[in-house]
Symmetry: C2
Subunit: 236 residues, 2 copies
DNA sequence: CCGGCAGTGTACGCCCACGTACACAGTCGC
DNA sequence: GCGACTGTGTACGTGGGCGTACACTGCCGG
């Protein structure tokens, strides 16, 4: 067989699988490139595939009266398409799309579900991630209610920065961030301006650079740390 | 054996189980009464049991700087303690407690997880519910960002009313509702006052009566309908 | 080299919800 | 019957974020 060694996998869920599960999955893994705006699942449409990101970030948003709001994000720590695991064939009222471009792999829904049926070890890995994802969404629900644009802005930058890895600079416009946070573009400009004046970040024309992670964590709400803790726990 | 017939079960998840799974579970089901304020799981503490409500409502809240916010609710359509299924032994940053008193059953975590390990049909039922719960939390995240106190108030009353069954009147103070919505008590008084003047509800000293469901649905945000649709789908 | 446009800065009035405060009204215990 | 307390009504000033608008500035393409 000529599949990549599991040790070379970059997605942390793929790395966490027991060898036999990985070998079962590997022949069906298809490498793909994710471009900004690629839609992995449209609103109310079931996932045709499950996606393992190696780099980049996917965003899950709900569109409601009053705008669009991000309810969760996924990077190389997890898997996009939990719906396939929970209830294949049923769509959810969220839209999943690529927010930061990157590389990754996908597997057809049928292979994924049959492996989930067969392997307790596989289910264990997926369940642990599902727990962490649910925690993220719940924390976001509370955060959206109680925290300021500036705090949520800092949190979002940190979460994204974690996922673009060692890249200090990544592409991001105020407009896009406003869309993600469910606020006005002008609101982001003000919040980001404060963070920039404080020397925590720097940006210019669609590119943002994180200068001071620790400072950014101070400017962010506690939600960042809480979600992060449960993501880190996954990779024991 | 002298266990209750599955057909007599009131919890919709218990009813949905295949016979063999129910019979495996039944000897371990322990009938209990839920009183207002009973804590089913404290913050960061794992569930010792999984709970099947027959009546009443449980509320899942996150406490953050800026107050406490409800991120989800569970009634007789589901199960309290998905954490046991996902990652037994790990606590989540949410507090689960009884919001409307009622009756139900519980089973120890070990029995629940071993049944989940063994039975694909059981997992299917739990997974479907997990999907619907995740949808609820995600919708709440968006709703908390975008919708007014009055809309969310109406939505909350509808969701709770669905779960107290044919009871038109149930106990509820403005103070408590404010706590759930993460807003001021005075804010709820104003919002509820509007709903009352419109003839949709009536309340007095801790008791609320739903007078006009259809009208209340009109006053609520679309989030009610979206979540409801996915809950109804469970009981095919 | 020069539009044109995308990205950003900043301002205005507005409104919802905030924190706080106080008055009043049922209801319960004595 | 009388306090005392819980639940509700309502008011005030404050503030964050809204919708909108307009000006400026790199950058890209013709």
């Amino acid at each position: 067989m000529d599949y990549p060694d599991q040790k070379s996998e970059v997605n942390r869920l793929l790395r966490a699988l027991v060898r036999k599960d990985y070998e079962r999955l590997a022949p069906h893994l298809e490498s793909i490139e994710f471009r900004v705006g690629d839609v992995l699942a449209a609103e109310d449409e079931p996932f045709a595939h499950v996606f393992f990101l190696e780099s980049g970030v996917a965003s899950i948003t709900n569109r409601i009266s009053g705008g669009t709001v991000e309810v969760g994000t996924v990077g190389n720590e997890g898997v996009v398409g939990l719906g396939v695991y929970f209830d294949p064939g049923v769509g959810i009222p969220s839209r999943t799309f690529i927010q930061v471009p990157g590389l990754g792999k996908r597997v057809d829904a049928a292979t994924f579900t049959s492996l989930a049926d067969e392997s307790p070890e596989f289910r264990r890995v997926i369940n642990h991630y599902a727990q962490s994802y649910l925690i993220q969404v719940a924390q976001t629900a509370a955060c959206n209610r109680a925290h300021s644009v500036e705090e949520r802005c800092a949190r979002w930058l940190l979460m994204t920065h974690d996922r673009v890895g060692d890249l200090l600079t990544f592409p991001l416009t105020h407009q896009f961030l406003a869309y993600m946070l469910g606020v006005r573009r002008a609101g982001v400009t003000v919040a980001a301006g404060i963070l920039q004046k404080a020397g925590l970040i720097r940006y210019s024309r669609g590119n943002i650079t994180v200068l001071d992670r620790a400072g950014l964590e101070g400017a962010s709400c506690e939600c960042y740390g809480i979600v992060r803790k449960h993501v880190d726990r996954l990779t024991i």
